[in-house]
Symmetry: C2
Subunit: 418 residues, 2 copies
């Protein structure tokens, strides 16, 4: 599929993240206005609440867009998702008869503040990138025992904390926590000294389930994808995670990009999961290409300094697709709901510059990386801004995710010294 | 404090779970009516939506009770909680001038269906009962290594799945999952063969936090308590839980009792946590009695058979209070919200009949227990009804929790054979 041309000129550049082929869904506000649904097109946002008021968009469902979340659209289901996307494509296409009505409803992205695009019902984070799991396992258990025995048979995941999900741009404060170093006799309560990021994709569940679903059914339940940075306190994690998994180490913040890129927009970029070392059991077996070819990168900019690209990788490096993760999530009968967010797990490629966390990039802090300008980093320092970017490259166009950025703030003074 | 007498006669019996001293909050419906808030008094329920309509209850906040959850009351905060309880006590007291107006608003509990009493925002389950952790650890790692190194320093917890929380009375279907026995070469997908219960208390968070809170602040955020049965698939758990903790093994269902017993009603039963082996760090240190003396029991009734009490213990056996768990939960800055539910972790006492799970009662299935009538049990069998009960015993009165019950249904036929 080539670039689809829009009458919004900025959308027609081959490297623009938001061409007519994309049409990602977000929630925005302008000074003095309430947050409401919008669709990105080039440098602009089509105000969906205004479009609905004007009768330009009417999926026949009753009002959907004058709210600060896309959950209501998700709940309407795949037929409405398709009808809405078709209608938006018609409105914004070059030569559209709707241009005169729609043009006054555009808002410049530069004038808008972005909010979380959906109400996060529950948040699950997986550990389904093989290179990441191998790197972390090698650091902690040696290369022979790097992958846990279950790793090649199920997408390992744990429940995270939905209340800690924030939109790109929200500053993230270095947490305190209980920490015990390998040479300490007793734990102490201190600011995290090994604050890290995790480069992930987030899958947004758009339809409910109330029993086990197949991989194909799971794929059809997914509304879209976002970039996701799962901020991680490695020293807190090391002390707390046995035997019940990460808890406070992952509860400070998880940042997501503000635009949900729909599954429909990503269709041309589907690709297969890697070769399987063990055949997966039937309920998890691949039944079509369900990963996506999405280039990903991470930049780090120190306070007042220029940004350095510290990692480049691709979503196709995952061992399990989001559809497989969602199918696994449902096996127990666990009810899944619109607004559930599934983090892919850290995405790393096979080589050093493809690692999606500082833990891996600095090999546990033993090999600090050097930034442009000469500073070194083992973990995140106060004032650093970390930014994820993602884009699928089509034939003369780009399906971009925008950015997922966050600045690390210094820890509070002792929060219990009152 | 002695029994407070009510004009609702059934409430005045010394062993009735719902005297005037209690006033627990639930959500009920009668045939043909919508679920709405109610307060238990003796064998009756005061219809709070009707009481609000009649002007009998007016906390000055706008309508709170014509909804199927107590979250709106929680959000109003402790002053309203106290004012509401005071007003209900006045209305329902022996000799109350409000009797004539209130009596027509009573509904018999026998005619009511109970629903979840609040919208569960997020659900966290802890592992904070020392005897339980010691028993489980001994089974898997031997008595010397029974407690993980962090156990005596932090209340270990993991995030559970709010969507799987169900009200008492909801049948629970035996899950399928990926299972690999110790002698199997490869995992297989099969119905759970080691389906279990966990006797727990649930603390209902009633006020939000957006940063670290002290133990005293955490205690004040708790709205009330319920009984909680965390259904657990032990064989699924054994295969999946390393390294990121329990996931699908705990996602089939968590049952809670339908009545929130308020913190105010439990005040007379506060008691201390046990002696500390290691002094807790300041942020977790005890600052007053924050456990409660609540007798707990579990019964098992086979399909069509009589029930046997299989365990008796007490909430004071916990090592960490819910306030300590909530304070720990907040250390990372994790935002906590009204409607968050914190499971205490399985409550076991020091002796065999005090064990709060079948895993412990049957010592991993090696020592099946014998029910009245001669049947034996290692784990839950299809058709079994498991019931938790809890009550604090006062001077001539009881603060009861009602029951938390659920019947185990047979697994589905292979859910993927379609």
């Amino acid at each position: 599929m080539p670039l689809m041309k829009s009458w919004v000129d900025s959308a027609n550049a081959a490297d623009h993240p938001f061409p007519l082929n994309n049409l990602p869904y977000g929630v925005f506000s302008t000074p003095g206005s309430d947050p409401r649904c919008g669709v990105a097109i080039g440098d602009m946002i089509l105000d969906m609440a205004a479009a609905e008021d004007a009768g330009l968009v009417d999926p026949g469902t009753g009002p959907l867009f004058d709210v600060p979340f896309w959950n209501e659209v998700m709940e309407e289901g795949p037929e409405i998702w398709t009808a809405l996307r078709d209608r938006l494509t018609a409105i914004l296409s070059e030569g559209s008869a709707d241009r005169a009505a729609a043009e006054p409803l555009l808002v410049a992205q530069a004038d808008a503040e972005m909010h979380l695009p959906f109400l996060v019902s529950e948040y699950t984070d997986f550990y389904a990138g093989r290179h990441h799991a191998f790197n972390v396992g090698t650091m902690f258990r040696g290369a022979e025992n790097a992958l846990p025995p279950n790793w090649l048979h199920i997408p390992i995941g744990y429940n995270g904390r939905a209340s800690s999900v924030v939109v790109s741009g929200t500053p993230v404060r270095r947490p305190w926590g209980q920490i015990k170093g390998p040479d300490d006799d007793l734990p102490r309560f201190a600011p995290c000294a090994r604050f890290d990021i995790e480069l992930e994709m987030g899958a947004v569940v758009g339809q409910p389930s109330d029993g086990p679903v197949t991989v194909a059914e799971a794929d059809a339940m997914i509304f879209g994808y976002v970039l996701l940075n799962d901020w991680s306190a490695r020293d807190i994690q090391a002390w707390e995670y046995q035997p019940l998994g990460p808890f406070q180490a992952k509860a400070t913040a998880t940042s997501i990009s503000p635009w949900i890129v729909t599954r429909a927009a990503l269709e041309p970029f589907r690709c297969d999961t890697p070769a399987r070392e063990f055949e997966l059991l039937d309920h998890l077996k691949d039944c079509g290409p369900m990963l996506y070819d999405i280039d990903l990168s991470v930049t780090l900019a120190p306070e007042g300094g220029a940004q350095t690209t510290i990692a480049r990788t691709n979503y196709r490096e995952m061992y399990y697709s989001a559809a497989q993760q969602l199918a696994h999530h449902s096996t127990s009968g666990c009810p899944m709901n619109p607004g559930d967010l599934l983090g892919s797990g850290t995405i790393s490629g096979p080589t050093k510059p493809e690692r999606g966390s500082l833990l891996e990039l600095s090999w546990g802090g033993r090999e600090p990386i050097t930034l442009d300008g000469g500073q070194t980093r083992s973990f995140v320092e106060d004032g650093d801004t970390l930014t994820l970017q993602g884009a699928a490259r089509g034939d003369g166009y780009t399906i971009g995710f925008g950015t997922c950025t966050g600045k690390a703030l210094a820890a509070l003074d002792d929060p219990y010294a009152r």
